[in-house]
């Protein structure tokens, strides 16, 4: 397989790596808009941002639990109707809100700095 054929795969791999790193910021941003649960968060991630983030359940759920364990999110279980499994709703904690602000600032700095490598400002 030549280099030309490898390029799309290489670009796809880079995008996956970039997406992984940005998932945390995206999750916190979505929860900043209001309480939400795993399935809904996943659907929002897929629907927004022109589909640049396409995480799987396997990436999102463990990250949500990790953020909660570290105090950036809080959660509650909400039982819906009879026979329907209850849902776990996540929301930002005050510390999570501060983290979101810090990550957003950091992202701006990173993006401005990295534009020099990526080919300049748009």
């Amino acid at each position: 397989m030549g280099i030309q054929e490898d390029l799309p795969e290489e670009v796809a791999r880079w995008r996956r790596e970039i997406s992984k790193g940005h998932l945390r910021l995206a999750l916190l941003s979505i929860l900043n808009e209001g309480e939400s649960y795993g399935y809904q968060i996943l659907a929002t991630l897929h629907a927004r941002g022109d589909g640049v983030l396409q995480p799987t359940e396997a990436a999102v759920y463990p990250m949500l639990r990790d953020l909660e364990k570290r105090g950036f999110l809080k959660s509650r279980w909400h039982a819906t109707e009879d026979g329907v499994p209850p849902r776990k709703y996540y929301r930002l904690s005050p510390t999570g809100a501060k983290l979101l602000l810090a990550l957003r600032q950091s992202w701006k700095e990173f993006r401005n700095g990295f534009d020099e490598f990526a080919g300049g400002q748009e």
């Binding site: 649960y37 396997a58 990436a59 759920y61 499994p85």
Partner: protein
């Protein structure tokens, strides 16, 4: 609706047990909730049926052991929840049987073709043919996430993201299968050195797992 919830509970409890995760814990409950949402999405507004749940589970199952993790998804988690050795051995036997049948299908008709090959040519031909068949098995692993034998037994080979392996990783785990003594050593070393008793050494090295999906 109670039937649906009981069905989901049964599926997710089994998944949690397979993944060596507390079946009463929150990860299993979240998996159940997600499975119901997926099934509802399939039902498109009408009442959810058991078939909807089963179809949603078929989609979700390869990732289930990752959804059930407590941490942020690192290597050790996929050591839990791998398929047991019995279905894996059965899948291996099925693949070997398939290889033999495929080889015979190619070789036997050649006996009737009036071509005289030198001995070395025959050996080379058989070698190339087997290499081609092993390549085909690897291609199944990469393309479908499972060899034909694994597909028959409801097994899948997945990486840390729940996706099918790359070519390089698939080759690495396929090569020991060609030499049974090497395969036995691969299995034993995996069992003796691993956190879980269900991964071969080569699978641990390339970070793949064989999981049961149905």
């Amino acid at each position: 609706m109670k039937e649906i919830r009981d069905h989901i509970d049964a599926i997710t409890r089994r998944a949690a047990k397979d993944a060596s995760v507390d079946p009463k814990g929150e990860p299993r409950r979240e998996l159940a909730s997600h499975l119901f949402d997926l099934a509802s999405n399939r039902a498109l507004g009408r009442p959810v049926t058991v078939d909807d749940v089963d179809a949603a589970w078929a989609e979700l199952a390869p990732q289930a052991i990752y959804l059930l993790q407590e941490d942020d998804g690192q290597t050790k988690a996929i050591a839990l929840g791998a398929a047991s050795w019995i279905p894996r051995f059965a899948a291996y036997v099925a693949d070997v049987a398939g290889l033999i049948v495929a080889a015979a299908t190619i070789i036997v008709p050649l006996n009737y073709i009036p071509v005289v090959l030198p001995e070395r040519g025959i050996v080379l031909f058989v070698g190339v043919m087997f290499a081609g068949l092993v390549f085909a098995l690897t291609a199944f692993e990469v393309g479908r996430g499972a060899t034909p034998g694994k597909l028959l037994l409801g097994l899948r080979t997945v990486d840390a993201n729940g996706e099918s392996p790359s070519w390089v990783r698939a080759w690495i785990i396929t090569i020991p299968k060609v030499f049974p003594p090497l395969l036995v050593a691969d299995v034993l070393l995996g069992v003796l050195t691993g956190l879980s008793a269900r991964r071969r050494l080569t699978e641990r090295i390339v970070n793949l797992s064989v999981i049961q999906v149905n």
